[in-house]
Structure formats: structure tokens, C-alpha cells
């Protein structure tokens, strides 16, 4: 059986003007490889502003035209070209966008949930279904005729999720579904996502919030400067982090206030100054000679996919 969605060696870069007519190349995602199965949530964890939303846009085929993309994305083993992407998005692959700003401010909620159709019969059918899904998420009937500005943050989030469900998708890509919500709403959203997974949906959950990632996902892919440095089972984020193999992942886990709040020196540079070799070597206490001039390839160690010459096995 093939995986539901596979991404292989995906790189996305932009060229931008910075001084008069001088251009520079900005690589936001480099050599990204990951996959997701049905009944599975894969969390993609990266810091804010790291361009991880672009991964979602690449899968959906809605990147801006000046983006340079290489690598391959496959749906059930089939290469996704622009045509297939257009066919799949909104039907088989649904998107839960990051911000409530993605709702049209001039359109009633129900109208944007069902989308545009000029077939009256189909419209009735969709409206019925929309009502069902809204009921499921406890959105009362009076919400149907509201405009986005009348919704609270939590309600708007529910509207976005309901909208994504209307076409019975197989894959959902959720881009930062939790920030800006209070604790209760976050919990609700998390439960909603897990429920969807149990129904069989494969989900890519893009987030910078490590708590959301740990609570919902089955596996976590950790991004550093646009590189996947580790794809590991979520259950490894436990104890003292001794099963996390990449030095960065481990220090990230041990820096959490509820674990050790441990201090690690060094800072994540900007995308304009990605170091040569391993992107993390400047801050890495375990670096070896190769790290300085050679980029480690992704490889499998103890069931974890990792990009590191000197992984922390044996619970060092």
C-alpha cells in the first residue's frame, strides 16, 4: 500500500530585490522529505516566520508565481502536477488556513462554507450538509447568517474547520490551528483534530506550538532553518527526552518550562545567513568535522529519521 501523501526533497526559494536592482535568493524550505498515512497526524514543527505555511501552499498548488519549487509531491503514489493539485484541492485535500483573516469579510458564513455553485439542487444538498457539520461543532443556526466580524476567535476557527470538512476530504492540512485561542478553545480544537484522525483522515498539522504537536500528533517532523532535522514518534517527547536523537530536538524539548527549562547557548540565525554544512553545527555541542562543510542526508537511526552525523544514541 502506498502512503496517502508523500513529499520528497521539496525545496522552495524566492528571489527578492534588496538593493536597487540587486537580487538575492532566499531559500525557505530545503530538501524536505516527509509522508503521511491515513489515520495519522503528522505535525510539522518550526519556529514562527519560518515559512512552514509554504509547505501547505506547495501541496495545494497555491504558491505565489515567483516561488521556485523543486522536488516531488505524490498523492497515493501519483506525482502531483499543477492539474492534479487543482483537481484535489478543496475536494480530496482540504486546507484549514492559519488565520481568521482568510474568511471573506463581506460574505455570510454559510455562503463561504458551501462555496459557489449555480446548480440549485447541489446547493440545497450542500446547505443541508453544512448545517449538519455546523451542528456537530455546536454552531447555532443564527451563525449561518453572520459575517466574520461577528464571530469570536473560537467560533471562527470552528467555521474554518467545518468548511474544510464539507467535501469529505481524505487529507487535511491544518496551518497553525491553535494560536490566539484561549485554553478551552485550544483543547476543543485539539479534540476536533483527533476526532478527524480517528475517522480516517490523514492530517498534516503545521504548527510552532510544541504542546499542540505533542498532544495531537503521531509523529513530529522538526524543522530547523527550513531543513527537516528529525522525524520522530511523538511518544519520544517524554521523560528527559532521551529518545530524541537530534541535539536540537533534545534541547528544544528540555527547554520547555514544564520539563527542565534548560539553557542552551547559541541562536537560530536568519534565513539569509544559513550556515554551510549542517544548519545546526554552529550551536551544536556534539559537532564532528564533517558538520562544518557537508550537509548530512536524512537517514534512519533506531526507527527515527534524522539529519545528523553524530546523533545522540545510547541516551547520552
Amino acid at each position: 500500500m502506498s502512503k496517502l501523501l508523500e513529499v520528497e526533497k521539496l525545496s522552495i526559494s524566492f528571489s527578492q530585490y534588496f538593493k536597487g536592482l540587486e537580487q538575492r535568493e532566499l531559500t525557505v524550505l530545503s530538501d524536505l522529505t516527509m509522508d503521511v498515512d491515513d489515520h495519522e497526524i503528522l505535525a510539522v514543527l518550526g519556529s514562527s516566520g519560518s515559512g512552514k505555511s509554504l509547505l501547505a501552499h506547495a501541496i495545494l498548488g497555491i504558491l505565489p508565481t515567483n516561488a521556485k519549487v523543486s522536488g516531488s509531491i505524490r498523492y497515493k503514489g501519483k506525482e502531483m502536477d499543477d492539474e492534479l493539485k487543482e483537481q484535489l484541492r478543496g475536494n480530496v485535500i482540504s486546507f484549514i488556513p492559519q488565520s481568521v483573516n482568510n474568511l471573506n469579510p463581506l460574505m455570510k458564513v454559510k455562503d463561504q462554507a458551501i462555496g459557489y455553485t449555480n446548480n440549485e439542487e447541489e446547493k440545497q444538498k450542500l446547505m443541508k450538509k453544512q448545517r449538519e457539520i455546523f451542528n456537530q461543532y455546536k454552531l447555532a443556526e443564527n451563525v449561518d447568517d453572520m459575517y466574520p466580524f461577528q464571530l469570536s476567535g473560537g467560533m471562527a476557527r470552528k467555521v474554518l474547520i467545518s468548511t474544510a470538512l464539507l467535501n469529505d476530504p481524505e487529507i487535511i492540512i491544518a496551518d497553525e490551528p491553535t494560536p490566539g485561542l484561549d485554553e478551552q478553545a485550544v483543547e476543543e480544537t485539539i479534540n476536533n483534530l483527533i476526532e478527524l484522525k480517528e475517522k480516517g483522515i490523514g492530517m498534516i498539522l503545521i504548527t510552532h506550538d510544541i504542546h499542540t504537536a505533542i498532544e495531537t500528533s503521531d509523529r513530529i517532523a522538526i524543522l530547523y532553518l527550513g531543513y527537516v532535522i528529525e522525524v520522530t514518534d511523538t511518544k519520544n517527547f517524554s521523560g528527559e527526552g532521551e529518545k530524541l536523537l537530534h541535539p536540537y530536538t533534545r534541547s528544544l524539548y528540555r527547554a520547555l518550562p514544564e520539563t527542565e527549562f534548560e539553557l542552551t547557548e547559541g541562536h537560530q540565525p536568519s534565513y539569509l545567513h544559513i550556515p554551510k554544512g549542517c544548519p545546526y553545527h554552529e550551536n551544536c555541542p556534539y559537532q564532528v568535522r564533517e558538520c562544518h562543510y557537508e550537509l548530512p542526508e536524512l537517514r534512519e537511526v533506531n526507527g527515527t529519521v534524522i539529519r545528523c552525523f553524530n546523533p545522540l544514541v545510547d541516551g547520552e
Binding site: 519556529s47 485554553e183 518550562p257 541562536h267 537560530q268
Partner: protein, 203 residues
């Protein structure tokens, strides 16, 4: 020294107060955590205390003296989004020296690299910029720091680094901190006391 906000009330819209009869007291040797839901008015309170909002009712005092507004304001606010607090057309050395010129030692403590000073704000990452905005707020005349979700958008590793340096400096220099966050675990680690916003705000 004590920072006291007494009976603060404020409304953006008439008859729809967001802060009501709110009082809070912060000693200069402590970190007070303030926790609350989004949209509850935490940031509004921060702006009142640090002098950005002026037409409130109630008083903000330092050891019972009202604060002279023509001089450097001794209560400095650090925002969540550093990139929004910097002039995009100023290089970093100008952004920093608008407040003061910190000694090299302090720059090292906060992990500021010399070559960052010649860069524009859009050439640095969020974590790098937040280091600047914190150091900028630590002018020697600063007596209190209001930290409004300053590490919310940073990864956990950067979060520790920033708080570690800030807490250390403030302890040595007797600067009190009001740390606002919705992250209970974080406040439990960094704060001496935690206040719940809904309990002190008498709406």
C-alpha cells in the same frame, strides 16, 4: 521601590469598560506573572502602566509619586512582536542607541553579535530582534519592565535564553518585572507570584 497601579479603569468604547477598578502592586525585586485569556485586556493594562495610554482613570505611581512624563519613562514595555516596534529604515545600531549604548559585556550576555548592528531589521530573525528590543528597554533609568508575551512567538530554546538573561540582569539591577503570558507553565518557572487577570479586573 514599588510600582503601584491603583483603581485603574479604562474603556475603548463608552460604557464598555475593559479595565475596571484594577489595582496591582509590583516590588522591584520580584517577577509578578499575570495570566489571562486572549482579549481580556492584559495588553491594555500593560499600555496603561507603561504610559502609552494616558486617558485612563486611576493612578500609576512609583513609591507613591506620580511619574514625570517629560523624562525617560522608567517603566518600559516590551512587546510581543519586535519587528513592529522598530523603524524598518533604521539599521540595528540606531534602533538600539535610540535608547542607550549598552556595554559590550551586556551585549554578549544577550547574545548580540557585532555584525548584527549593521543590518536592517528585516535581515534578522524574530529571536534576534527580540534580543534587541529587550536590551533597548534595559536603559539604566529603567526601574520596571512590563513584558507582554515577549517569548510567545519564539521557540523554546530561545525562550529560555531570553528569560535567563533578562531575569539575571533585572535581579542584579533591582528592576521589577510584570510578566504577562497565557502560558501557565512558563509563569510557574519564571515568576515569584502569579495573578489571574480576571480576578484583579473588577468587571
Amino acid at each position: 521601590m514599588y510600582l503601584n497601579a491603583n483603581n485603574i479603569s479604562y474603556a475603548y468604547k463608552k460604557n464598555k469598560p475593559i479595565l475596571k477598578n484594577l489595582s496591582i502592586s509590583i516590588p522591584d525585586n520580584k517577577v509578578i506573572g499575570l495570566m489571562g485569556d486572549s482579549g481580556s485586556g492584559k495588553s491594555t493594562l500593560c499600555k496603561v502602566i507603561s504610559g502609552y495610554i494616558k486617558n485612563y482613570t486611576g493612578t500609576v505611581t512609583l513609591d507613591n509619586n506620580l511619574i514625570e512624563t517629560k523624562d525617560f519613562y522608567p517603566i518600559q514595555l516590551i512587546f510581543q512582536h519586535p519587528e513592529k516596534t522598530m523603524n524598518p529604515k533604521w539599521k540595528m545600531h540606531k534602533v538600539l542607541s535610540e535608547s542607550w549604548n549598552p556595554p559590550q559585556e551586556l551585549m554578549d550576555t544577550f547574545g548580540l553579535k557585532d555584525n548584527w548592528l549593521g543590518r536592517w531589521p528585516n535581515e534578522l530573525s524574530g529571536g534576534e530582534l527580540q534580543r534587541f528590543s529587550i536590551l533597548r528597554a534595559l536603559n539604566p533609568k529603567t526601574k520596571f519592565i512590563i513584558a507582554d508575551e515577549i517569548s510567545t512567538m519564539l521557540d523554546a530554546v530561545t525562550q529560555v535564553q531570553i528569560w535567563d538573561a533578562l531575569l539575571d540582569y533585572c535581579k542584579q539591577n533591582k528592576i521589577g518585572i510584570l510578566a504577562v503570558s497565557h502560558d501557565k507553565e512558563l509563569l510557574e518557572v519564571i515568576a515569584d507570584d502569579i495573578l489571574l487577570f480576571n480576578e484583579i479586573n473588577k468587571l
